[in-house]
């Protein structure tokens, strides 16, 4: 497929299809409605299925069911919808079922608004649902990256038998950009037969039970230790982009659309001779703690910029570990930090 101009939501949907996702369960919520709309038109034509669930609660449980058979499954929603899905996400993680969940974030808390936001950083990286579970959280910054990360998310979900979340903000969902969507070829992945439901015959009449219920405390702790071991293995998927960091005295930390805005500010400030760079986490979980920590001792200041009131900030503070001052600049409610605001904030630090 050649480069085409596409809306972010539709690009994500087509990318998923090209990665072999034939089943989609979802519920309408702004600003991601184009994804279920796109899927409802395409999937029945390729032998798959689209089901409009009665709620996000039902949608995520359909995703759990589809994932439990080892089938490539996706759902998409936006912030309040992800809150409703959090119960199911915890079960999916606890039962170790692969699934891809896209959150096109809007402002909160509560019903909030429908404009872009990054206020679900805590929800996606620290839990949301109950219990000690983790998601792999991928944060694209361009539509091309959203396409590639969406496709890779299916591989990662199967590799780790874990839900993977694409954390995109409303800008990424609604803007149009040139993208190239290729048919995705997965590398070697573990086969589904040893664990997936519906493969009892292939296992020689040995059944599979997918569950998170362990009434015996020792068994539940053992299950948790096993999950934690897996999350430590997931650490090797950590990814970030370092931009002009080699000689930087000022470091900006930003993800997603905010990082694009910060990049423009950094380019302008560099012209003024300010030694400034940026670390852009691509995986929010696992977080690129070591990348930031390695830079920290040579920095005069770290500025965290987000479209929220300061969430990734806490992970950056942990990474910097007191080796440099850390401050925050952000907006909420669907207001994006402007290039000028970021520049002014940096100049005020100097």
């Amino acid at each position: 497929m050649a480069r085409v101009l596409m809306k972010g939501t539709e690009a994500i949907a087509e990318a998923a299809i090209q990665a072999g996702c034939k089943y989609f369960f979802g519920y309408p919520i702004t600003p991601q409605n184009e994804i279920p709309e796109y899927m409802s038109g395409k999937l029945p034509k390729i032998g798959g299925a689209y089901v409009q669930a009665e709620s996000e609660v039902a949608a995520i449980n359909m995703v759990m069911g589809g994932g439990s058979t080892g089938t490539r499954i996706m759902t998409t929603s936006s912030s309040p919808g992800i809150s409703l899905m959090s119960e199911g996400i915890s079960y999916i993680a606890g039962c170790e079922i692969p699934a891809v969940i896209v959150n096109v974030m809007r402002g909160g808390p509560g019903l909030g608004g429908i404009l872009p936001s990054q206020a679900d950083y805590f929800q996606s990286t620290k839990g949301g649902g109950n219990g000690d579970y983790r998601l792999l959280v991928l944060a694209p910054s361009t539509l091309q990256e959203a396409v590639e990360l969406t496709q890779e998310a299916f591989d990662l979900a199967e590799k780790y038998r874990n839900p993977v979340m694409i954390l995109a903000d409303g800008f990424m969902g609604q803007m149009m950009e040139a993208v190239e969507i290729k048919e995705h070829v997965s590398g070697d992945l573990p086969p589904r037969e040893p664990w997936a439901l519906g493969c009892m015959g292939e296992r020689g009449s040995k059944r599979s039970i997918l569950k998170s219920l362990y009434l015996n405390p020792e068994d539940l702790e053992k299950h948790n230790i096993k999950l934690q071991k897996k999350y430590r293995e997931m650490d090797k998927e950590v990814r970030s982009e370092s931009y002009l960091c080699d000689d930087a005295e000022i470091l900006v930390a930003a993800f997603g659309t905010t990082a694009r805005i910060a990049r423009s500010a950094i380019n302008n400030l560099r012209k003024e001779g300010i030694r400034i760079g940026m670390v852009r986490p691509i995986t929010l979980y696992p977080f690129p703690t070591q990348t930031i920590r390695d830079l920290a001792s040579s920095l005069k200041h770290v500025l965290v910029v987000e479209m929220n009131m300061g969430q990734m900030l806490e992970d950056v503070q942990t990474a910097v570990c007191g080796k440099a001052p850390v401050s925050f600049f952000g907006h909420a409610g669907g207001i994006a930090p402007s290039v000028k605001e970021i520049e002014d904030r940096v100049r005020s630090i100097l």
Binding site: Y23, F25, A49, V51, A53, E54, S55, V57, A58, A59, N61, M62, V63, M64, G65, G66, G67, S68, T69, T71, I73, E87, G88, Y91, C95, L197, G198, C199, M200, G201, S205, R207, S208, I209, L210, K211, S212, L213
Partner: protein
């Protein structure tokens, strides 16, 4: 007259396990019926169960087929995802009254309305069993429970919900029936109904829903015999047995 019938463990009953159910509980009977049906239809390798939240949460320990646990009330949505991705398999939900008629009302109505080609066995014992005897949506008027210690008052808690009758109002074709396990004659009918519900699925007909009036001797504060007598004398008059809807 000299024929000897040997009452054996169904093949689909996991070997060497005993249930955790209280003496006299209807779950054991129902699990056995499902196992016998799985054997008779020869679908053990092709059946996928969803385990509910409630006393039957551990049913996968007893019925030897593939299983996925469901969150409370969510089994119909979970089963939808399973059946849509594996339409060649036989998928069932097994849900109690708190699970199906309270926290999972949205899921059960919509699975029936979509006509998902799967089977639901709904165990109505008019009480929350696992959590210790709280009022259920199906608790009868005047029936005492730990959260209606003076008896269910319709002014405060409304009337007991008749799920078969509600679901039968849906236009989508389906098989909806209510049976009981209160006495052997009812158990024979219950088995026929559940078997038909599985056969409907094998034939790709659509959604089948079998409500089973059962009991809870422990939380009702009765002996097993008294409990099944109460099911017959008090529950059946409010929840009439019969077929409410069937495929033409």
């Amino acid at each position: 007259m000299n024929e000897i019938k040997i009452y054996e463990r169904p093949k689909a009953w996991a070997e060497g396990v005993h249930t955790h159910y209280c003496p006299g509980c209807g779950h054991g009977i129902l699990h056995r019926l499902i196992c016998e049906i799985i054997d008779e239809l020869g679908i053990q390798n092709d059946t996928i169960g969803t385990a509910p939240v409630g006393c039957a949460a551990l049913m996968y320990d007893y019925i030897d087929v593939d299983f996925c646990e469901a969150a409370h009330g969510r089994a119909p949505a979970l089963a939808t995802g399973i059946k849509r991705t594996r339409p060649d398999k036989i998928v069932f939900t097994y849900q109690g009254d708190g699970d199906l008629a309270s926290i999972g009302t949205a899921e059960i109505i919509h699975v029936a309305n979509r006509g998902e080609k799967l089977t639901t066995v709904f165990i109505n014992n008019a009480i929350y069993g696992m959590t210790g005897g709280q009022m259920a949506p199906t608790t009868l008027i005047g029936q005492k429970a730990t959260t209606c210690p003076f008896g269910r008052d319709p002014e405060l808690a409304g009337y007991p919900m008749r799920m078969c009758e509600m679901l039968a109002t849906l236009e989508t074709p389906g098989f909806i029936t209510r049976v009981s396990v209160a006495r052997p004659k009812y158990i024979i009918e219950a088995k026929k109904a559940i078997k038909k519900a599985f056969q409907n699925q094998i034939e790709g007909k659509g959604y089948s829903f079998v409500e089973v009036l059962s009991n809870c001797p422990t939380n009702w504060g009765m002996t097993p015999v008294q409990a099944f007598e109460w099911t017959e004398s008090t529950m059946i008059p409010h929840y009439p047995l019969g077929v409410f809807k069937d495929f033409k």
